[in-house]
Structures are given as structure tokens and as C-alpha cells.
């Protein structure tokens, strides 16, 4: 079977997170995004540079998902959250804390983990 092709800059970004060299891309006006981006959708700037992703973020919303897609069947119940890292926000799976205990404003770090169901890589948040 053919190996699936990587998803360009997305997989490179995961590689960087894994190597503890996480980054985001920033335009000349300070708008932050995750790759791939060739233009800032906010202001149209094409001067995008890679900047280090701040070490920790804050959970701004979260949900414990019990009815999952087949790709997350064995993961369920799991927590998906959006964490605000300042210049960018990131969506990930919250691990290392009981789903009932996940709180708004909790400080988390980002790493790359595996989906239990498929073994695919996934963005994971852990309490800091």
C-alpha cells in the first residue's frame, strides 16, 4: 500500500511542535495564524514570518465529546478545546486531566499525541 502523502505545512507544523519548536505565522500587522498561509486573511499582508509559539495557552472553551466519529470511536469520551496562545488560538485534545475537571482559563502546553482509535497524530493539550 502507498504511504499517504503528508499534508504539507500542516505536517511540518506538527513536526515542529513535536521537536518542541512550535511556531505560528505572523503578518506585518501582528495577526497570527497557523500554516499554511500565503496571505493574512485579516489585512491582506503577504509579509508572513514564522514566530515561536508561546509556551502555554489558556483554554477559552471546551467540550467533552461522547458521540464521536468512527475515527475517534475508541477515544470517546474525550475533550476537545480551543486554547488561546496570544497571537493564535489552537484546537486540540485535552489530556492528563479528568474530563470533568477541565476548566475555562486553565493553562495548558501543546504537544503532539496519538489518536487512540487510529494512531494518527493529533494536537494534544496538557495542564501546565
Amino acid at each position: 500500500m502507498t504511504e499517504p502523502a503528508p499534508d504539507g505545512e500542516y505536517d511540518e507544523w506538527l513536526d515542529a511542535i513535536e521537536a518542541d519548536e512550535g511556531y505560528y505565522v505572523e503578518c506585518a500587522n501582528g495577526h497570527g495564524w497557523l500554516p499554511p498561509r500565503r496571505v493574512c486573511p485579516e489585512c491582506g499582508s503577504r509579509e508572513l514570518t514564522a514566530e515561536p509559539l508561546p509556551d502555554s495557552g489558556e483554554i477559552v472553551t471546551h467540550s467533552t465529546i461522547t458521540v464521536a466519529t468512527p475515527q475517534f470511536e475508541d477515544d470517546a469520551p474525550y475533550v476537545t478545546a480551543i486554547a488561546d496562545f496570544g497571537p493564535v488560538s489552537v484546537t486540540g485534545l485535552v489530556r492528563g486531566v479528568d474530563p470533568e475537571e477541565v476548566e475555562m482559563g486553565a493553562v495548558v502546553g501543546v504537544e503532539v499525541g496519538e489518536r487512540e482509535t487510529t494512531g494518527d497524530r493529533a494536537v494534544v493539550f496538557r495542564p501546565r
Partner: protein, 388 residues
Amino acid sequence: MSDPRVAGAGVTAFGKHPERTGRDLFAEAGLEALDASGVAPEDVDALYYGNFMGELAEHQGHQGPLMAEAIGVDAPATRFEAACASAGAAVRSAVRDLRNGEAEVVVVGGAERMTNIGTAAATDALAIAADDLYEVRAGMTFPGAYALMARSYFDQYGGSREDLAHIAVKNHEHALVNDHAQIQKEITVEDAIEAPTIASPLGLYDSCPITDGAAAAVLTTAEYAADHGLDAPVAVTGTGQGGDNLALQDRPHLAQTPAADKAAEEAYADAGVGPDDVDVAEVHDCFTIAEVLAIESLGLYERGEGIHAATNGETDRHGDLPVNLSGGLKAKGHPVGATGVAQLATVAWVLDGSHPRADAVPDGTVGVAHNAGGTVASTTVHVLEVRE
């Protein structure tokens, strides 16, 4: 050109019809719409058709011509895809073509076959309206995405699961007389709160069901309607569409839907009306929280106030501003690609007095239909008004 008229509409029974093909569902709705309109099929200039997941559910792309054929129409046919707002986008294109003289008669509609693939596969299919790389791979489901918005709303503005339950109770009650509705069952606030959680803080009764169904409407120019003696008192007087970042993580506010704000502003300005003129609204309540976000974006409620509307009885059929008299997506059902036209049909029927809940607004002359795709990265708003 003056405002296009709704000459006729048709919807199938919404529900679980796993054995019915998309083409048969659409044929039923489309033929019903043509018959109701009195328009001859050979007069149809185009079919604009909404469908979201035909490739996944039926292994069927290129559905435009297939559906034109299914309703006996020999005209150019194009499929529109804007997730759950697919049919709304189809309506918008039809309205613009009719106004600028490109067409005299356009059939708009949509269909979705969903239950044939089962709940798990349908959940998977619905999730692809989100950002695959950054959301779906982080476990986001369609209910999960709205759960993230709901928790953010509670955090920023307050409100509770009980307020959301009142929306579900209201929409279920509205659907009791709608024979097209998937769910005709009265529920209580306790039923909703005690139902199993699907994605906290949302439970089973916060979510629309998975639905097979189709809807269609025949839109004509006012001139065509007059020349052919059609009984078409309701006009589409305003159209608007807005967009937003696809991924929630890229938006500045998780408890607001600016794409709908933009669509509403455009549609109101187009029609020359404002939120205060609206007598009735059909809004995209794929989840209870979505109804809250919709009525706020439509300017019917201030930010943070929409959550209390159903609890206070303001948006039920006895209230000042009935919302989702059809039962909404919540009880009527949500065959994704058909929903926008089903909403249009409901508003037209309420305004012309033929809907079973039309008695809620006996003197109503202005209605809006709000159709949102995904987590509201696409939204269309249409204003309908009684013209004769």
C-alpha cells in the same frame, strides 16, 4: 426588475427514509412545487439545487442535471454547496438572476439522503464542514463545534442548559401540527436536561436529528407571475450572504456569528426593512444554541439577550416574535442541502396563511429565513414580504 415571487413550494416528509434515493426525494418535492406554482416545466430557465454530502451518502456527484431530469425539467442545472447553507445559496443566486433579467423562472431546491449510511458515518460526513486539518483532526464533531460555541456563550453572556431546553421544548411544540416534521412529540424542559449528553454542554435534545428529505420552490419574476395569472402573493424582497473564517480557532469571538450579521444587514438594506419590521423568522437551529446566535445576529435581540427569548415565551407561537413555527431544524429535521429552501417555503406559507401555524401571525407581512453553514462560516438571509 421588481422582486421575485414565490410561485409555489413543495417539501417531502422529513424523517428516516433510508431506502429513498436522493433523486426520488427531490422529484417529489420538485413536482409538488411545480404543481403548486402552475408554471409549465418548459418555462423553467434554470435549476439551482443544494446538496452537501451526496458523494459520501450516495456516491453521487454532479447532481444538478440528475435532479433537473428527476423533475422533468430540461434546463441548465447547477448544484450549490455551502454546507448546511447550500440551499440558501441556491435561492440567493436565483433571486439575483430573476432580478437582473437573466431568468424569468428558476426552480430552487435541495435534497439530502443521510440515514442510509447510519449515525456514525453521517456524523463523520457532517464533520467535514469544519476545517479538516485543524478541527476534525482534533476531534471536533458538528455537535462538538456548537458545544464549544455554547460554552463560550455561557461564559461571556450567561445563560444555562435550561434556557437551551426551552428552545427545544418550543420547537417541538411548534412541530406538533407540521405533518412534514420528523419529530412530532411534545417534550418538557426536564426531558431535555436529563437527555444523554452528546458533546457537553449539549445533550440529545439540543441537537437536530439526522434527516432524509427534499424541498423545492418555484421562483418567478413579478412580471411573469402577473402575465400568467399566478397566485403568488409573497415576494423575496431582500437577499444577503456573509462569510467568516472556517475554523473557530481563527475567529475573535466564539459566541457571535458575524457572517450572519453581515448577511442580515445586507438583506434588510436590500429589502428596505429593519429587524423591528420582522413578524416571523425561520432560523437555522441545528443546535439550540444556534437559534440564540441567529436571533442576535438578525438584530431581533441584543447580544447576550437571545438566550432568554424562549424561556420568556417571546419566541413561541403565542409570543411577539414567533421563531421556527415549522419546528425548526430541531423538530422538523435537517436534510442539510434542503434546509434553506424548506425555510423559505415555511416563511412563504406562514405569510400567505396556508401554514398550519400561520395563525400565530395572522397579520404578518414580513418574514426572514436564516440559513447557516457549518459553524456559520457561510450564512444567507432572505427577507420575504406579502406584496398583494
